[in-house]
């Protein structure tokens, strides 16, 4: 059992358990905290893959931006209480059932597809350094230049939308 595998197991355990706790903790603030840990562990997975840039971006975006947003919202609404009522039993059963179904189906799909075992060959070529990613992203000819620009537009629109939506309406009430 190599070190890498051990790290993987530890990280996976952390990821799954914190994700689980996120769902199950009664207090939303706790959920948020667990989620942050979960995100960090996923960043750890990225690092394991040697995708440093992605890991950094992930921490900045998720643990930084998104989590802060979530926390702010939680605080804005003053929701750090454990007052959530459980859903009816039938709904919960349904949820369990459908989750199991999804899980089973997904797993069976992946396992039944082409054999995924094999040699993990390494060409030695650099494919995930910042330099290469930058080229792939911004190359005009066979890269993702236009989608990239669109993403920026999307973010802009989302920003405007968020501002508009959360602005208090003057006319009403």
């Amino acid at each position: 059992m190599s070190t890498v595998l051990i790290i993987f197991y530890v990280l996976s355990a952390v990821t799954l358990s914190t994700a689980f706790m996120t769902i199950f903790s009664r207090n939303p603030i706790h959920s948020a905290i667990y989620l942050v840990i979960c995100f960090f562990s996923i960043a750890g997975h990225y690092l394991l893959f040697n995708a440093q840039f992605l890991a950094l971006v992930h921490i900045i975006v998720y643990s930084g931006a998104i989590m802060i947003l979530l926390l702010f919202t939680l605080m804005l609404m003053n929701l750090n209480k454990e007052d959530e009522v459980h859903k009816p039993r039938l709904t919960r059963l349904g949820a369990v059932f459908s989750v199991l179904a999804t899980c089973g189906i997904l797993l069976s799909i992946f396992l039944r597809s082409k054999p995924i075992m094999g040699d993990y060959d390494t060409t030695g070529e650099d494919y995930q350094s910042i330099k290469v990613l930058g080229k792939v992203l911004l190359d005009q000819d066979n890269g993702f230049m236009i989608p990239f620009e669109f993403v920026s537009v999307l973010l802009l629109v989302a920003m405007i939308g968020a501002v508009l939506l959360s602005k208090k309406e003057n006319s009403a009430k």
Binding site: S98, A101, T102
Partner: protein, 627 residues
């Protein structure tokens, strides 16, 4: 010239109709009556001209006006055919028509709608003329249905009484059953012979090239159904007695003398077809004989004076059909003519009586009118003798010819016909005795007003009585003017002249004795014993059945009218509703689906998500899992 005159002949009554219907009210009663009468007299005069002409030249006149209906197989002209038969028919149609118009001037004088009455009468004459002189079956059909229409209008002339309207409706519908038969007959004739023109048909058939026996038989059956409808034969006779709801002149003109003989006219017109269908001829003879007997038995017990005459008419028409079935067409024609004379006279006479008694038609409330109404009495007596077949009045000759022919053809039919004749003599004199002899049985009020009718009424009576007396002269056995006259019309027929042998004299004697017996029984019963039929409820046994006309109306009601109405109700209340519900069912299903679908939209996001996940699972398992 001939065309113009023919147009005058047919259009004069139409002109009278138009004048009376549009301006009748302004013209006043007398003038509108005069116009009505005059137009018919004009027609009569023109007919007389043509008639005298044809007796000299022996040439039928054909008038073609224009193409009427386009059919792929044959063409239908709008044209007239004035030949021996149609002119003979026209003579008594317009002649008697004119007399009855004259009679109506006085008879209808008290009615506020007198101008309409004359308008309808004129319209009737117009249609009757076109029936008679139509050059092909369809023109005849115009007249055929047209007289039915006028009959409807005139039976229901007093339209405020719904019973009368029912009678009118019944007459029209029963006629229409026959008309459908006639129409099918026309189809077959057109289909088989590629023409429906009388003259062409006659040429084709007499040439003998067409020998399509089956179709001709079917055609003959269909045509006979038409004739049975119009001429009130079994099973379509029940409308005629009901038709007596109309004013009496109408009964005389339409339901005794002219319209009801249209069936006989049509069969005579197409005799060449019927000659080719001996089976149908036999059927006609049998049906005619039975009709004559059945109607005569019903007439035995009727108490309404017009009903007696109506059944008598049906009975006489049956005799005519008997003659037709024997192939003795000219004898049938002869009887039609004599019958027109004496039956018109009888109806008009009964009208005179009814008029005098202020619309009383029940013979139980008459009696002893002989002294008050001598002219009416004498003319009716003569006509009754004529219809009973007493030598030497008109009815004797014509009826005897029929019975003789029947005897030679089939003695059973002769027996039936003779029985009917004996009954005829009985019920006619029952009518005479009940009406004119013994004491008056009506109210005092009526008694005071008893009077002879005015001259306008008695004049036609006298003329008709004279004709009923001497009318037989036109066809005396052995030397028949009528047969001679009609010979060009029956080019292929041997003269049926009964040589006056021993058998014939015996038959005549039997017939006369039979008639005398009938009269004698009536005399004994109603004169000697002074019997009067009791109220309706007192009839028992056979006479009850007879009085209720063998319950034929009730049977028809139960077999046809009620089921059709029940079916109609069923269709209206169930089938229509069901069909409608079925169509609405589609809408209902869609509605129901959407209603149920609406419930799916619970608004609960959790539920949506649940469904979403399930759907996601389903889709990916469908896409990726190969089972």
């Amino acid at each position: 010239m001939d065309t113009t005159l023919a147009l005058v002949l047919i259009l004069a009554p139409l002109f009278g109709f138009l004048l009376n219907i549009f301006f009748g009210k302004q013209l006043g009663k007398t003038l509108s009556g005069a116009i009505g009468t005059f137009t018919v007299i004009v027609s009569f005069a023109v007919t007389l001209y043509f008639f005298l002409n044809i007796t000299e030249t022996n040439q039928a006149i054909q008038v073609k006006l224009f193409d009427w209906i386009a059919i792929s197989d044959f063409k239908v002209d709008f044209g007239f055919l004035l030949d021996h038969l149609s002119l003979l028919w026209l003579m008594f149609v317009t002649g008697i028509g004119a007399l009855i118009h004259l009679y109506s001037i006085s008879y209808m004088h008290d009615d506020e709608n007198m101008h309409k009455f004359f308008a309808y009468l004129n319209l009737f004459v117009f249609f009757m003329i076109s029936l008679v002189i139509g050059s092909n079956l369809l023109i005849m059909f115009i007249g055929w249905e047209g007289v039915g229409l006028c009959s409807y209008l005139l039976i229901g002339f007093w339209y405020k009484n719904q019973d009368f309207n029912d009678a009118a409706k019944k007459a029209f519908i029963m006629n229409r059953i026959g008309d459908l038969g006639l129409l099918v007959g026309i189809f077959i004739v057109g289909f088989v012979f590629k023409t429906i023109d009388f003259a062409e048909l006659k040429t084709i058939v007499l040439a003998g090239t067409m020998n399509n026996e089956m179709w001709i038989t079917i055609a003959a059956i269909a045509l006979f159904i038409g004739a049975a409808g119009k001429s009130a034969q079994i099973p379509l006779y029940t409308w005629l007695p009901d038709a007596m709801a109309g004013p009496t002149p109408v009964s005389a003109l339409i339901h005794a003398a002219t319209m009801v003989t249209a069936g006989i006219f049509m069969i005579t017109r197409l005799y060449f077809l019927f000659d080719l269908a001996p089976l149908v001829q036999d059927a006609i003879a049998i049906i005619g004989a039975i009709t004559s007997l059945v109607a005569a038995t019903i007439a035995l017990v009727q108490t309404d004076i017009k009903k007696v005459l109506a059944y008598s008419t049906v009975s006489q028409l049956g005799l005519m059909f008997l003659a037709l079935g024997m192939g003795a067409y000219e004898i049938a024609v002869f009887h039609v003519i004599t019958h027109a004379f004496f039956k018109a006279c009888l109806f008009l006479g009964s009208g005179s009586v009814i008029h005098a008694l202020h619309n009383e038609q029940d013979m139980r409330k008459m009696g002893g009118l002989r002294k008050a109404m001598p002219i009416t009495f004498i003319t009716m007596l003569l006509s009754s003798l004529a219809i009973s077949g007493i030598f030497p009045l008109a009815g004797f000759w014509s009826k005897d010819e029929i019975l003789m022919t029947a005897f030679h053809g089939n003695p059973v039919l002769w027996v039936i016909g003779s029985l009917a004749s004996i009954f005829t003599a009985f019920y006619m004199f029952r009518l005479m005795f009940l009406t004119f002899f013994n004491d008056f049985r009506g109210t005092e009020e009526q008694k005071k007003h008893l009077h002879e009718s005015p001259a306008l009424i008695t004049f036609p009576l006298i003329v008709l009585a004279i004709l009923a007396t001497v009318g037989g002269l036109i066809s005396l056995p052995g030397n028949s003017w009528l047969n001679h006259y009609l010979a060009p019309f029956f080019p292929n027929k041997e003269h049926i002249a009964h040589a006056l042998g021993q058998t014939e004299y015996i038959l005549m004697a039997i017939a006369t004795v039979g008639a005398l017996v009938g009269i004698g029984v009536a005399y004994a019963k109603y004169m000697k014993q002074n019997q009067v039929p009791g109220a309706d409820a007192t009839f028992t046994g056979i006479s009850k059945v007879l009085y209720n006309k063998y319950y034929v109306d009730e049977i028809y009601d139960a077999i046809f009218v009620k089921p059709i109405n029940a079916l109609s109700n069923f269709f209206r209340d169930f089938v229509e509703v069901g069909l409608s519900a079925f169509v609405f069912g589609f809408g209902k299903v869609a509605n129901e689906l959407s209603f149920q679908g609406k419930k799916l939209q619970t608004g609960s996001i959790g539920f949506y998500l649940f469904i979403f996940v399930i759907g996601f699972c389903a889709i990916i398992s469908y896409l990726f899992i190969e089972l």
